[in-house]
């Protein structure tokens, strides 16, 4: 019997308004309604670097299959202001519907709802007009009242009764134009990459977090500060990124698992700290959530242009762990994994993510929780004289922390002897350099044996392979798998999983490199191990890929 390809149930909703109008929150509520009905969710947030005015919008994708990127074509456009219609009406699908605030916008076609009037008549605040829009949309989309009510009750923290009253009125004021079916799927938690990163690190034993506010990493600081009690940890905002990285190192040196987070420019300030972590052999996890660069760049938009910088951050001969997650589950897993690896090898580790993972919302499968726990590291036995930089064969010196009876723990930014006393002697210097070199070798060996250091998917027998990394995961996989390509995606990028990449490239005669920067930074890394791409697809308008646009480009390959 020929197996028919099941067409996935899919809906794409765009909601927009000026900054300050609450389109993001409203979008999240709508996503949760679909989630409640069993759909997998992905939300892409597009917002400008301002607090009021301008234009912000969210693109929500709800699907019966797992999805990690958005669709530009929208089945519904929800407009809080006229700008939204003007900017996005080209995106409307053939049978799509525009639902708009009729109190402020005059538009021919679509469904106008007097959301402000409804809110006012019920004696609600003006922000509650968004509830009216959500409710009207739900009715138009054929979603039952019960589901809408359940979600509103859970999501609204203030004025629940009033909001429900408004929702009921708005729901009753419009007709259904569609019928969105429920799917037999258990609703999953919805998490942004930032939230998942925070939780993954917490699962691996995080106790202290330091940061300076910087888009798009600030969400981690907010989340950890807001959940400090549940997660048994402290989140500290300090005066600048240099303080952050140094305090982070101090905290780790004193024995607590520590993470810091920032974006490009802030990471630039932290790089002396990367060097300090390497020389002092202090474990530290740094989250660099890329925005568009260089310099201030386009702060609220994403890109992948910090790769080479991250790989070579910190002066001196050193090796770091660098891993680039492609979605929320990977953010959770790799935050935990890198924290553990930082402690195992007493090394700086960088979680290289970007706005499109950090601030997008994903369905999160709780199964990943079991894959992360606080792992063991080399601890001092407590016997004999303690030497912080004991010259062991594998390069890893057992750790003791200040406060431990019997140990004098001397960490340092200077080259040192085994005790941690500064040295200028050639013999000592060579000894320590070589100890660290052996450690780097051990780090490379660990990655060589790590199956999950790269992901291979799509048509495994294809002679054509696309190579991508980080947030490009979702759109690239969807497009490439659909067209029958092989997809090779390094997740650990330093040490580079050369062995696995060569293995994956066996039988491949054409390599297409796809990334979100203008100079082909991953290609440069590949060239370093003798791999040359035959073709490249580079996008640098500071917007993420969609599967549609990639399919068009890949069809020409």
């Amino acid at each position: 019997m020929k197996k028919t390809k099941t067409v996935p149930k899919e809906y794409s909703i765009l909601i927009g308004g000026a900054a300050g109008q609450g389109s993001r929150m409203a979008g999240l509520v709508i996503a949760k309604i679909f989630n409640r009905m069993g759909y997998n969710i992905f939300i892409h947030e597009d917002y400008q670097s301002l607090i009021k005015g301008g234009h912000n919008f969210s693109q929500i994708r709800a699907s019966s299959k797992k999805i990690l990127s958005h669709k530009d074509e929208a089945d519904f456009i929800l407009a809080l202001n006229e700008d939204t219609i003007k900017k996005h009406k080209e995106k409307l699908s053939k049978n799509g519907t525009i639902v708009f605030n009729q109190d402020k916008i005059s538009f021919e076609g679509g469904v106008g709802v007097k959301i402000e009037t409804i809110a006012k008549e019920s004696g609600g605040l003006s922000i509650m007009s968004n509830t009216a829009l959500i409710a009207a949309f739900a009715k138009i989309a054929g979603i039952d009242w019960r589901t809408l009510e359940d979600v509103l009750k859970k999501e609204i923290t203030k004025g629940v009764e009033k909001n429900l009253e408004i929702a009921k009125k708005a729901y009753a004021s419009v007709e259904s134009l569609a019928k969105i079916e429920k799917i037999k799927n258990k609703p999953k938690p919805l998490l942004t990459g930032n939230e998942a990163t925070a939780l993954g690190a917490a699962k691996a034993g995080l106790e202290n977090y330091f940061a300076y506010p910087m888009t798009p990493a600030t969400g981690i600081l907010h989340y950890l500060a807001g959940n400090a009690r549940e997660l048994n940890m402290a989140a500290s905002q300090l005066e600048n990124e240099i303080s952050v990285i140094n305090a982070g190192i101090g905290s780790a040196f004193a024995g607590k698992r520590t993470m810091v987070g920032t974006s490009g420019g802030g990471f630039a300030l932290m790089t002396e700290g990367v060097s300090l972590a390497a020389m002092s052999e202090t474990p530290i996890l740094i989250v660099n959530s890329q925005r568009s660069g260089p310099a201030t760049g386009v702060p609220t938009y994403g890109g992948q242009s910090d790769l080479l910088f991250s790989l070579s951050s910190g002066h001196g001969d050193l090796l770091r762990f660098v891993a680039a997650p492609g979605d929320a589950e990977e953010s959770f897993y790799w935050a935990g994994k890198l924290l553990n690896m930082a402690w195992k090898y007493q090394s700086p580790a960088i979680l290289l993510t970007d706005k499109d993972v950090s601030e997008s919302t994903f369905s999160f499968d709780e199964k990943i929780l079991n894959k992360v726990k606080k792992e063991k590291f080399s601890e001092w036995s407590g016997k004999g004289e303690y030497k912080r930089y004991l010259n062991k064969a594998n390069g890893i010196s057992p750790m003791a922390f200040p406060g431990q009876p019997g140990a004098i723990v001397k960490g340092t930014s200077y080259e040192h002897d085994e005790y941690g006393i500064s040295t200028e002697e050639t013999a000592d210097i060579v000894k320590m350099q070589e100890k660290r070199l052996r450690k780097f070798e051990a780090m490379q060996n660990e990655i060589d044996k790590m199956k999950e250091a790269i992901e291979i998917s799509g048509n495994l027998k294809s002679k054509k392979a696309v190579i991508c990394w980080g947030s490009a995961k979702g759109a690239v996989k969807e497009a490439a798998e659909d067209l029958g390509f092989k997809v090779i995606r390094p997740i650990v990028i330093q040490p580079f999983p050369e062995r696995q990449i060569y293995e994956a490239l066996k039988g491949v005669s054409k390599i297409i490199s796809i990334e979100l920067n203008s100079t082909g930074q991953m290609e440069y890394v590949l060239n370093g191990c003798g791999i040359e791409a035959d073709q490249r697809i580079l996008k640098y308008d500071m917007r993420p890929f969609t599967a549609e646009e990639l399919k068009i480009q890949l069809k020409k390959a």
């Binding site: 005066e239 190192i249 300090l276």
Partner: protein, 247 residues
């Protein structure tokens, strides 16, 4: 410290970069020899991680008032429970004699061969403005007086600051000036901002007038670490509780 009951393992010294910072290599205690200007945040991170540690930061004027001035101000502002000991020779000595934020105007160093054109700032005034809860000044050649200040600063819960006027025999030998003009000031009310400022403003780090020594200001308030660590309990981290909120 050990004589008065602090366990040796709980003493930690964090140093910076400079001749002064070499003390990390000389003392057989826990130490972290950090980056230039960045010793203070390292100490703060250590204290947050292990509040039992009694932490002394040794750093020079270049570190505290040039490279790392933002950290000095903010650690005082946070009332971080660390003991900062500023070894002030008013010059960058290890790099062979350039001027710092507190060098006298006209200092002839290799980067200012015609004499520095900048007036110095008053670090103790900056610390008052940064809400520091313990401000004092000693002199390297008045050892007993200085020792008392350091012991008192260690006892103080919260940020404590001891400036040590320290002549540099190689690059700025102002020993004679201090011997003649530094005097032990008597402050009958260290909790008074007014009295503290009066003493602090007596010398502007430039003139050759008298230089008061002693405890100028001391007040009690909760430390950063004790407040931040309040959320930490013995209970297990609850990831699932957080995940509930996301469905």
């Amino acid at each position: 410290m050990i004589a008065s009951g602090t366990a040796k393992e709980n003493i930690a010294v964090v140093t910076d970069i400079g001749c002064n910072s070499k003390i990390a290599d000389y003392l057989n205690v826990n130490s972290f020899y950090g980056l230039h200007g960045r010793s203070i945040p390292v100490a703060e991170g250590m204290k947050l991680a292990n509040p039992k540690l009694q932490i002394f930061v040794f750093l020079g004027d270049g570190a505290a008032l040039d490279e790392g001035i933002s950290h000095l101000i903010h650690s005082a502002k946070r009332n971080s429970d660390i003991n900062v000991i500023l070894l002030n020779n008013r010059v960058f000595a290890l790099t062979t004699g350039q001027f710092t934020a507190v060098s006298p105007k006209g200092l002839k160093g290799k980067s200012t061969p015609e004499g520095s054109i900048e007036d110095p700032i008053n670090p103790l005034e900056i610390l008052m403005a940064s809400n520091a809860s313990f401000i004092s000044r000693g002199y390297a050649l008045k050892v007993q007086h200085l020792k008392k200040l350091i012991v008192e600063s260690a006892k103080h819960k919260g940020f404590s600051f001891v400036e040590v006027l320290q002549p540099c025999v190689s690059f700025l030998n102002n020993m004679q000036f201090y011997n003649e003009k530094a005097y032990e000031a008597v402050n009958d009310d260290p909790s008074s901002k007014e009295k503290a400022l009066k003493l602090i403003k007596e010398w502007d780090y430039d003139s050759e007038e008298k230089v008061p020594l002693g405890l100028f200001y001391k007040i009690q308030k909760p430390s950063y670490e004790e407040l931040m660590n309040k959320v930490k309990t013995e209970k297990e981290t609850d990831i699932l509780e957080c995940l509930q909120k996301h469905s």
